[in-house]
Symmetry: C2
Subunit: 377 residues, 2 copies
Amino acid sequence: MKKNYLLTPGPTPLPPYVCKALAKKIIHHRTPQFQVVLKEVEENLKYVFQTKNDVYILASSGTGAMEAAVANIISANDRAIVIDGGKFGERWTELNKVYGANIELVKVEWGKSVDPKIIKDILDKDKNIKAVFATHCETSTGVSNDIEALGKIVKDTNAILVVDAISSLGAIDIKTDGWSIDMVVSGSQKGLMLPPGLGFISVSPKAYKLVELCKTPRYYFDLRLSKKALAATDTPFTPAIGIIIALDEVLKDMRQETLEVIFARNKKLAQSTRQAMISLGLELYAGKDSSDSLTAVRVPEGIDGEKLVKTMRDEYGVGIAGGQSQLKGKVFRIAHMGFIREKDLIVCIETLEEVLSKMGYKFEKGKGVKTIEKLLG
Amino acid sequence: MKKNYLLTPGPTPLPPYVCKALAKKIIHHRTPQFQVVLKEVEENLKYVFQTKNDVYILASSGTGAMEAAVANIISANDRAIVIDGGKFGERWTELNKVYGANIELVKVEWGKSVDPKIIKDILDKDKNIKAVFATHCETSTGVSNDIEALGKIVKDTNAILVVDAISSLGAIDIKTDGWSIDMVVSGSQKGLMLPPGLGFISVSPKAYKLVELCKTPRYYFDLRLSKKALAATDTPFTPAIGIIIALDEVLKDMRQETLEVIFARNKKLAQSTRQAMISLGLELYAGKDSSDSLTAVRVPEGIDGEKLVKTMRDEYGVGIAGGQSQLKGKVFRIAHMGFIREKDLIVCIETLEEVLSKMGYKFEKGKGVKTIEKLLG
């Protein structure tokens, strides 16, 4: 039986206590027993989101929470800035198109972060912009965008700032209140170390005013229903009970470890991974804009990127991610967040070296492992 | 430590093999390993749905799948018949209102099933009706509607038949193809013995034509994306991987046991429960229209229904459901589906007798247990 190591940027591996919590007998959601869980979860979500705003839990994956953001803010013909620098920026674009937004599309070259000044210029010229949709960590390219800078720009305008933090929340620093982010959207299967199935969205008072005015039809993702239910320690529809019970454990664990310690660990893992890649002569796809959630690496010339990922997974049991859309076969991606630790990355880089070597890539064998061992040591 | 018995009509108890499957290490969803699961699940879902149509899996609870049905069929001002005889019929009404349907509302007295002739008359008069929204088992009242009769009526019209089978699928007979049901909507936490977090929807070719014509904005629940993904053994967005892996086990188990055996068991449990209630001098809320998924019972005069449910749950560890909306405090509801077995019902009725007796209800003590034991014996 093969032992598997999961280093994909979502889902990320589950800690043993999460598996144990998921295996518990189910309880009914409209009981004082489940309300205790919901109360604890809500309080600890605020800690992880670094906010005093409500955080709503949806029974959906992250895209459902993204849809909630758009469908509760954008009425047909509303003006919106969409920052689109990868597959998940494209998702904001698609959602805004579907809901009839009049889009000011800020296309960013894949592998680069957005220049906040561009956003400032648009907002200065157009006072009718209702929302700016941004991506914190663009999972498809490994780029981290400067959300703090965007927050400073959007804060004093009529617009709200909506951030996809699906692969950043709980992995790298994101200060919802400190950076003036009106809506932070996330999911369960990345920094929060859970199976997919929960979406999250925090809503500032400034954003909630727009929610109340929004004319778009919505029901399952209607945040007015979420707000009303939360006030009664309830959810508007049957919640994903099992994953929420495991979330309760995760959040208590994270709170005990503290965000500072978690972010520092991931940063160290990220820096070490990047150095190891460079030591193998490989190129970081996101260069200086690389996120500390995951590292995207260019597949070297002449190597079949899809085969590389497939071989590592199917022959060695080491799961990393390939490229998506236009990057198919051109990058591979290694996560360093959630329950991924030093030894997982050593296993990953050791395997990567072995497979790259077999596939004919020329490099000094052992250098990647030596580099990461030294940096993590 | 108290031992708990769960007899609520959703969530229903998890079999031990489900708990075990939920506790497994997570795998990535875009892998051949997960595709094996998806293929098996799709084939076995068709068995449980009794259909050759596609069955789409959504990362949502049942209401999400209901929204998918409405948002993919109803454009603003479309004519729709909504059969509304309880809290979940109301949900069809609310969803249709949100999406701008021009509703022909068929209000049915709570506790009664719909008279199919009423639907026939409306369809005969109005050829522009696009869809008929019905509820198979109305969980709030314990009523089972005659979907087979509705299917015969709707079949030869321009309209499609959409059925909420959330608390009936896998619990009582529902023949998607045999009864000409165009969309069957369900969820994971009832007859399928899983935690909540998955929604399902089957789509007939007649319904899919309307999906393609529908102008309503949708994205996360866009069934065109589901269809395209399914053809590639994929899902449009990150699926609820963990619950799907457990679903695979459940469906194999159900297929081995066969639907016939499962339906016959639930029917026997239902009949015995109803007789036990009558033997205690209690009244069945749904009378002759009672579903074999759950039994709704009127709280006797002078007894506090909410306290009854609370006492059974918090003092005896026996979870049954109270009434919802206008039935709050007026009924209690006992499920007999999924992994609920003879002994659970004996425990439930024994406890019910004890608590009713303490609360001052006059009846021949022991008669309920004796009745169900005899009938199940």
